[in-house]
């Protein structure tokens, strides 16, 4: 652990794979830039890999003042221990006050290993971050400018705000898609700081034999419109209605956990706490009762239309438009109305 260091930088771990930067790392840069400005400190990025130097400029464009670059042939593919040693070595050297990771499969593998080694706190899956002074009545003091780490907890039934008052850095993983991806400023200037890390043999105990990546077929995060079906759709065959409506609008197909568990559609389409968090311009929920886990993943959509026969369904609590009725009749009506819609 490092002690409280108010001049410490705000850091983002630069998740990249095969030289391609993960969106969440750029989303985090936007947020980290904002936090750093409020704290009056620099924003830094830890970029590890092999032949990744040119990615530095993308992070500088997204707000980094400094990119700490660690290039080593053995870092070409992510492995927990060498990456954890990299991050921890740099934390000990530069003493940042905040370190943020994407809450991806990789980030959720790496961050806890680092936090354990640093013996500092770590908050998983944050959906928002803020800076505030926090009074500590027991110690009759106020912790100045702490990072507020805001996350859903207890199956999404509560929202908790977590702080790490003393044992720094303040570490958090942040969910993909919850921070807006800002436009880069290609004129921004920043510094690339090449760093060396001394690895040990045991860091490479896990050997990668084979890897396989699937192109993301389902792009829920980037969709402007999502039509989602739930358990109320009733069957895999009937899920065609959802595909039809999505096709008519030109939107993506989403699903609730009930629909996925029912085998109506692949898990890649799942929206919600254990699926993808989305915030499209329009979200049409058909036959979805609106369990809290589902709502947590879609309630920030700009417009929500709910179709459900049960007027007490919780989905109506987050809807802007509600249609109480049988989706088997309503969806074909919507398809027809969309095809015949007036053009603006």
């Amino acid at each position: 652990m490092i002690s409280v260091n108010r001049s410490g930088e705000v850091w983002v771990f630069a998740e990249q794979e095969d030289g391609s930067v993960h969106d969440v790392a750029l989303e985090l840069c936007g947020k980290a830039r904002e936090l750093a400005d409020r704290l009056g400190v620099r924003m830094g990025v830890v970029l590890a890999g092999w032949n990744v130097r040119e990615l530095s400029y993308r992070f500088i464009g997204h707000g980094a003042d400094r990119v700490y670059l660690v290039e080593d042939r053995r870092l070409e593919h992510y492995q927990t221990q060498p990456y954890a040693r990299t991050v921890c070595t740099l934390i000990e050297k530069h003493k940042p006050q905040i370190v943020l990771f994407g809450a991806t499969a990789l980030g959720r593998d790496l961050a806890p290993r680092c936090a354990s080694q640093m013996r500092c706190g770590l908050t998983a899956d944050c959906t928002d971050l803020d800076i505030a002074d926090v009074p500590d009545p027991a110690a009759k003091t106020t912790h100045k400018s702490l990072l507020l780490q805001i996350r859903p907890a207890f199956g999404g039934n509560i929202i908790a705000t977590i702080i790490n008052p003393e044992r720094w850095p303040q570490m958090a993983t942040v969910r993909e898609g919850v921070m807006p991806l800002r436009e880069p400023n290609l004129q921004r200037k920043g510094e690339i700081v090449a760093e060396k890390v001394a690895f040990e043999e045991q860091d490479f105990a896990v050997r990668l034999i084979e890897r396989h990546r699937e192109p993301r077929k389902v792009n829920l995060k980037g969709a402007r419109t999502i039509v989602a079906g739930g358990g109320g759709v009733g069957s895999k065959a009937n899920f065609k209605l959802i595909h039809d409506l999505a096709g008519a609008i030109g939107g993506a197909v989403g699903a609730s956990r009930a629909a996925v568990d029912g085998g109506f559609i692949d898990k890649a389409h799942q929206v919600g706490q254990t699926g993808t968090t989305v915030r499209p311009a329009l979200y049409i929920a058909c036959g979805i009762s609106g369990a809290i886990q589902h709502r947590a993943g879609m309630e920030e959509s700009a417009k929500i239309v709910a179709v459900n026969w049960d007027k007490e369904a919780p989905i109506f609590g987050v809807a802007h438009y509600g249609i109480v009725g049988d989706l088997n009749q309503v969806i074909p009506m919507m398809v027809k109305a969309i095809k015949e819609r007036p053009k603006e």
């Binding site: 806890p112 050997r207 886990q293 438009y321 027809k336 109305a337 969309i338 053009k343």
Partner: protein, 310 residues
């Protein structure tokens, strides 16, 4: 070649099925009304450990940290085939965050010793952090392999593991010992074996015996408890009988695992909960659209006008 596995399990409130009965009048969740269940990912971790033992020999030790009621989850492990069950319970461990929890579990794992695998579920449904596994691995100084989907091969103390990383998979090779976190898609958990249920339903930890003896003596004496030494003697008598039948589950506290108290509980937890807001189901009101051709057409027109639809 036999392999020894330790499986870390957790009893959790069933947060995935918050029923109407579990909602309070103000719209928040009444945690006490949620049933306690075996954390789903952990059940798969147990299954992988049992499969390793069934194929290669060795042992499976189930370990949990929690209040005495968590002993119910340990019995579930025995029903399914675990060889040994250990409850780590201590009031001084209360309010531990993931870092303190992983310290305590790693001390318990070191106390058990002589292991090849530590299996954990990927994450628990009450916290959803997925942190305790990797943090334990770091504290134990062993490699971690997260998101196991399949244990592909196990030979000469070297495991080949297929991990699902969301947008694809990886096959990795690692020398044991290793800590592995297991996905809920990894294996179908075996059901409890009827014969083992018959045998182990009487298995107890000491805290359960203490509570039972106390309750029985109070009931018998009309609310007046027996002196402490008599209660202790009765607990010891029952414990001995269970021990002889192989039904006494181990119960450890922080002293048993030589834990440094500075790293446990509240003092060992760098994260503090600053504020908790219950999510309240609000009826903020929405525009109700009649389920008619005309109603739907009006809705679509409105969405086009405000540029929601192109």
């Amino acid at each position: 070649m036999p392999y020894h596995s330790i499986v870390c399990i957790k009893q959790v409130p069933d947060t995935a099925n918050v029923t109407a009965e579990a909602m309070k009048a103000d719209g928040t969740v009444n945690r006490a009304a949620l049933p306690a269940i075996f954390n789903p990912d952990d059940l798969r971790a147990l299954e992988i450990a049992l499969t390793v033992r069934d194929r290669h020999g060795g042992t499976v030790t189930a370990l949990t940290m929690g209040p005495p009621m968590a002993a119910a989850a340990l019995r579930e492990c025995l029903y399914r085939g675990a060889d040994r069950a250990i409850l780590l319970t201590d009031r001084r461990a209360a309010a531990s965050d993931t870092l303190a929890t992983s310290y305590i579990l790693s001390q318990a794992i070191k106390t058990i010793g002589n292991y090849d695998f530590v299996f954990c579920g990927r994450q628990a449904i009450d916290g959803d952090t997925a942190q305790v596994g990797p943090q334990c691995a770091e504290k134990l100084g062993i490699p971690q392999v997260t998101y196991l989907e399949q244990l592909v091969e196990l030979r000469d103390r070297t495991a080949r593991i297929r991990r699902n990383v969301g947008n694809g998979w990886e096959l990795v090779e690692v020398r044991l010992p290793v800590l592995v976190t297991v996905l809920d898609t990894a294996a179908e958990p075996r059901p409890p074996a009827a014969r083992r249920v018959m045998k182990y339903k009487r298995a107890r930890v000491r805290a359960e015996l203490e509570a039972a003896v106390k309750a029985e003596s109070e009931a018998a004496a009309g609310g007046k408890p027996l002196p402490a030494d008599q209660l202790d003697a009765e607990v010891e008598r029952r414990a001995e009988r269970l021990r002889c039948a192989g039904l006494m589950m181990e119960q450890w506290n922080l002293d048993d695992i030589r834990a440094d108290l500075a790293w446990c509980g509240l003092s060992g937890s760098p994260t503090k909960v600053h504020r908790v807001q219950a999510i309240v189901l609000t009826k903020s009101g929405y525009t109700e659209i009649p389920a008619t051709e005309e109603g739907v057409r009006r809705l679509i027109r409105e969405l086009v006008v405000d540029h929601t639809l192109g």
